[in-house]
Amino acid sequence: MDTEKTATPLFTLDRVSQERGGTCILRDVTIDLPRTAVTALIGPSGAGKTSLLRLLNRLDDPTSGTVWFNGRPITEYPVGSLRRRAGFVFQRPTMFPGTVADNLRIAVALGNGSGGPPDPARVLEAVGLPPDIAGRRADGLSGGEQQRASIARALMTRPEVLLLDEPTSALDPEVAEHLLATVAHLSRERGLAVVMVTHRLAEARQFSTWTVMLEAGRVVEAGPTDRIFTDAKNPRTREYIRSAE
């Protein structure tokens, strides 16, 4: 049973397409996302990376096709509980009014999974924030601190997977690297799956274990990050990686 569960992909997209305003954003995407990994979604702007990520906790629904989560169609889960199990962190962190502690409390108040809410101090520590930050006004934090606080807020619902939408795009390279090191550490320590969109290939290469290359709404190639970056099968992937380096 256990082996079967491990073998079930975290997410499966089955012939998923999405249109918006007459424009096709995702075309017939079929792919598995593994559960024990940091998965990076890479590809040029407009490839559909963020659109794909938003399908995974139903911030949007596909126009056609099915998204599966833990072996069940995603639409079979109550949407609130699904979103608490698949925490989403936006490109631009949005803090709620009040202190950092208030932000964490709001996430808990919205309901959390099994086992009761985690200890806020530990969560802050896990995302690399000092404990005394809890009493500070959330909108007064720096960009990097806000992004860490967003991740902490998402962790308060005890998610199984974190969905990160270009979490470092507004950060300095150094701050970005620290943040992703924290995320990779979280993933290893807590067995937390991570799916992250990034346009910085170095980040994908350094911190992910699985990489999905998207272009023009289609999956070009997917596989272990090491192989994608050293021995990509698809010439489009090779070209994209070369051009970005």
Partner: protein
């Protein structure tokens, strides 16, 4: 309108000055002053002022005759018909926002929402004031129902328009916050709680301001009218107090229905923030 008709419908106090057509002609000098200033300062609104003045005269004279007819016939269904026409006109005005975009729904949705909200908010308030507070007899007495409903619907209309417009703007401006709530598993009602609160507040602020300054900054039209018509200011004041409370109640009921219902149109059944589409 001849003097006999004036006497027949509203026996004015003996010392009320009757405004004659000559008097109206004299008063038009004032609108000519406004037109002259517009020309002098090149405001480019002389034409609008002229058309507006003519429309005001025609509309008010027509309404005068319609009211004379309604008062004279005093049939319940004609009174209700008049109220319905007022409601429809107010609904169209409240939802006429050229260039504005509306959530998933279209302008017809907003029309339905605003119209229903105004119907409930104004209808309940009018019924309460005329039946419970004033004991109007018969219940459809047009001399009470029509002016009171006119004031209620005018305020409810502004409240509905402000609430809807502000809600759309707040949800658009706070899209990030709303989606951050949704992403944590919040219901759409929770995610849009702050935009909803702000929209309702925007709808009610004019009412609050009016309660604060009434009698100090300006005398309300109805009270002025009563005093000009020879009523005791003390009685006019009592009416005005009823009117102020009535307008606050009607605006609050209308506003809350608009924001709670309209809010739903911004979300899908799966608590997703809908893509806005131009109407």
């Amino acid at each position: 309108m001849n003097a006999a008709l004036l006497q027949q419908t509203a026996p004015a106090a003996a010392d009320t000055i009757v405004v004659t057509w000559t008097d109206l002609g004299l008063s038009s000098a004032l609108i000519l002053v406004a037109i002259a200033i517009s020309e002098w300062q090149r405001l480019g609104i002389a034409r609008s002022l002229t058309v507006g003045a003519i429309r005001a005269v025609v509309q008010l004279v027509l309404v005068g005759y319609v009211l004379v007819y309604i008062f004279a016939t005093s049939l319940w269904w004609i009174v209700l018909l008049a109220l319905v026409v007022m409601l429809l006109a107010a609904t169209s005005t409240a939802t006429r926002r050229p260039g504005k975009r509306v959530a998933i729904g279209n302008r017809r949705t907003l029309w339905t929402i605003s119209g229903t909200a105004m119907f409930i908010g104004s209808g309940l308030t009018l019924a309460y004031v005329t039946e419970i507070v004033l004991n109007v007899d018969p219940w459809y007495e047009p001399r009470y129902l029509i002016p009171l409903f006119g004031m209620i619907i005018g305020n409810a209309m502004n409240g509905a328009a402000l609430a809807a417009e502000r809600l759309a703007a707040e949800i658009e401006n706070r899209r990030g916050e709303v989606e951050a709530y949704l992403a944590l598993g919040a219901s759409s009602a929770r995610a849009a709680a702050e935009p909803t609160r702000r929209a309702l507040l925007a709808a009610l602020i004019p009412t609050v301001n009016s309660l604060m300054v009434v009698g100090l900054v300006q005398l309300p039209g109805m009270m002025t009218g009563q005093i000009l018509a020879g009523q005791s200011p003390l009685l006019a004041v009592r009416y005005q107090i009823v009117v102020q409370f009535m307008l606050a109640g009607a605006t609050a009921i209308t506003g809350v229905i608009v924001v709670l219902w309209y809010r739903k149109t911004f979300f899908t059944d799966a608590d997703q923030l809908a893509t806005r589409v131009p109407v």
